[in-house]
């Protein structure tokens, strides 16, 4: 963008090299911190792991809110279902953590399907209030030890650590890698999903649902599917969260958590994965830099949301139009126009 159109190809490769360098540097961070002998290293890695976890959650919310444009503010409910599914399977049946991952996804996805089916047609702000209702109901259910599975207000204690290829994940550094590799995989998969028949359909729905339906998109089915995929991913984030914390309780899955995910997506750039990632760093990371202002944290989110809507409603780093690589003979016949009409 910065280099203009003529050197488009060149600037693209520069950006690619720079981002590869950035990712490499980020992944080398634990080693660098250790080499530097910084005393706060575990704390920094822990914080980055939390950023990664929220990035994971927000990327999954982005499918629902950013791509399909559905106002969903109950994402913590599906996060909770995944975490509790993992905790139960691990504590009661001794399942290894990673084996619970698909079950957590399945449970969260199923719940999403059941609750979304009757409300998916509701207009934006009504959907918002219903999803808030859902997250509140789930929290009340957790607090009341529903089906004897949630341990009530105290939650569940003593969840195991994940074991990957025989290596037990327990150090901040291990979680840093586990979570960020998951973030990376998620971003690749969701990037593919976004640039597919399914992802395009979600964009059409977000732009104009009536027109999308009129052009042959089964809008209900696609909205439901987006909801289920987003929820399933949040469920898997729940698995990681449960094994990282080892203790889970209803307090971790409140309306406030849903607000944070929502804020990350809106602030970063609704519908743009890199924007969402930026949002996760800002929303989760910045307050840590000003720890004396812990009380001011949510206050600042609130003010930021208002200010963003007034001055930059598309978010800090909004999506750009999809760049298609035309097949021949069209590629040579019609080089990218970008003519301002």
């Amino acid at each position: 963008m910065i280099w203009g159109n003529k050197s488009g190809v060149q600037s693209r490769s520069i950006v690619q090299v720079l981002s590869a360098l950035g990712v490499g540097l980020f992944l080398a961070l634990p080693a660098l911190l250790a080499a530097g002998g910084l005393r706060g290293a575990p704390y920094i890695l822990d914080l980055l792991s939390m950023v990664g976890l929220y990035a994971l959650l927000s990327l999954s919310l982005n499918v629902i809110l950013g791509l399909a444009g559905m106002f969903h503010m109950g994402h913590a409910a599906f996060f909770a279902v995944g975490a509790y599914a993992t905790a139960n399977l691990n504590l009661t049946y001794g399942w290894p953590i990673l084996a619970t991952l698909p079950v957590a996804a399945l449970m969260a996805g199923t719940l999403a399907f059941i609750v979304a089916l009757p409300v998916i047609h509701l207009r934006g702000d009504y959907l918002l209030i219903v999803t808030i209702g859902i997250v509140e109901i789930v929290k009340i259910a957790l607090t009341n030890d529903i089906f004897g599975l949630t341990g009530g207000p105290n939650g569940l204690i003593g969840i195991a650590r994940p074991v990957v290829f025989g290596h037990r994940i327990s150090q901040p550094r291990d979680f840093f890698y586990l979570i960020w590799i998951m973030v990376g995989i998620t971003m690749i998969l969701f990037h593919w999903l976004e640039n597919s028949r399914f992802g395009r359909a979600l964009k059409y729905i977000k732009e104009d649902t009536v027109a999308a339906e009129g052009m042959g998109v089964n809008t209900t089915a696609h909205k439901l599917m987006a909801f289920v995929i987003g929820a399933a991913w949040a469920g898997m984030a729940g698995t990681i969260f449960a094994s990282k914390m080892r203790t889970i309780s209803p307090d971790s899955f409140t309306f406030g958590e849903s607000v944070i995910m929502f804020t990350i997506v809106i602030l970063g750039g609704s519908g743009h994965q890199k924007g969402v990632l930026l949002g996760a760093f800002l929303v989760m990371g910045l307050p840590e830099l000003f720890r004396d202002f812990q009380d001011m944290r949510l206050l600042a989110y609130g003010a930021a949301l208002v200010a963003m809507m007034i001055f930059r409603p598309q978010g800090l780093w909004p999506p750009t139009p999809t760049q298609y690589r035309l097949p021949d003979p069209y590629a040579t016949k019609y080089p990218r126009g970008d003519k301002p009409c």
Binding site: F71, P118, L128, I129, I134, I140, L298, G302
Partner: protein, 301 residues
């Protein structure tokens, strides 16, 4: 049976508070088609301003309960109205012509902001009102014991609601509000100053919400910075039950929700009481989105 009647009285008391808050949601929604998420926080603000005068400054012991409550009520209504006005100016007016999502997100942001401002100012812990503000008089009506404070809350709420009802139905300004609620465009053509109507509902609604906060403070004796969230969601539910945008509907919806909740608490399960409101909300939105009253203006969801 005696227990049942007591529950009814209790339910009506709680319900009248819901109704008072619900009016603010329904008026704003009617005119702007916007869920004012920050309304619950204006309610909390009302409670805390009441706390300043009746709790911190304990005006009750200087002026006597009647005068102290009266003065406080005026100050509460005035300051929450002012806060509501600022809220509209800062968070909603710049977005009047933008995307619906933008306004909703802004409302939510304003809500989070206000809630945390209250927390920063007054702290996160519960705050206690002056306990002996109203004399603990208990009357026996139809063999039922009814405390003064309960009767006071209920009657005050009812009087405020009746005044609003008369204002909406008997005055020119009230007519303008009703016209704008039905169709902004048409109202504008008929010579209604819609901007003024919006400004007006953002003064009346918050004032009513703030007074509801004061009543809750007097009734329960303690308040908390995030109580507006639950009360707000329930009051919004009440507004939806009564048909959002419908002023008498909000009053009815509030009373109904209060009753329903109290009876569920007493006879079904206390722990699930709070879930009931949300289940009611979701069911209404799915099965009868226009609310329980016969519909006046069909609205497409």
């Amino acid at each position: 049976m005696a227990h049942f009647i007591e529950q009814i009285i209790y339910g009506l008391t709680v319900g009248s508070v819901y109704a008072l808050i619900a009016l603010g949601y329904t008026m704003v929604y009617g005119v702007m088609k916007l869920i004012n998420f920050a309304h619950g926080e204006l309610f909390t603000l009302g409670a805390f301003i009441g706390f300043v005068f009746l709790g911190t400054l304990s005006w009750g012991s200087y002026f006597g309960p009647a005068l102290a409550i009266g003065l406080t009520a005026i100050l509460v209504a005035g300051s929450t109205a002012l806060a509501g006005h600022f809220l509209e100016r800062v968070a909603y007016r710049p977005l009047r012509h933008s995307d619906r999502l933008a306004a909703v997100v802004s409302a939510l942001g304003a809500s989070i902001f206000l809630q945390n401002v209250i927390m920063v100012v007054w702290g996160a812990q519960y705050r206690a009102f002056n306990a002996s503000l109203l004399p603990t008089v208990v009357w026996r009506i139809f063999g039922q014991s009814v405390s003064l404070v309960r009767l006071f809350v209920f009657l005050t709420a009812v009087i405020i609601m009746l005044s609003l009802y008369l204002f909406i139905n008997r005055t020119r300004l009230g007519l303008a509000i009703r016209a704008a609620a039905i169709d902004q465009g048409a109202a504008r053509l008929m010579g209604v100053d819609v901007s003024r109507v919006i400004a007006l509902v953002f003064v009346i609604g918050p004032a009513l919400g703030g007074l509801a906060g004061l009543l809750v403070g007097i009734y329960y004796g303690q308040i908390n910075f995030n109580m507006g969230q639950m009360y707000g969601l329930k009051a919004f539910t009440a507004a939806v039950i009564g048909g959002i945008g419908n002023i008498p509907g909000a009053m009815l919806g509030g009373l109904l929700l209060g009753l329903l909740e109290t009876l569920a608490d007493a006879y079904v399960s206390g722990a699930w009481k709070d879930a009931l409101a949300f289940v009611a909300l979701i069911s209404i939105l799915i099965f009868r989105p226009t609310g329980i009253l016969p519909e006046r203006v069909a609205e497409k969801l």
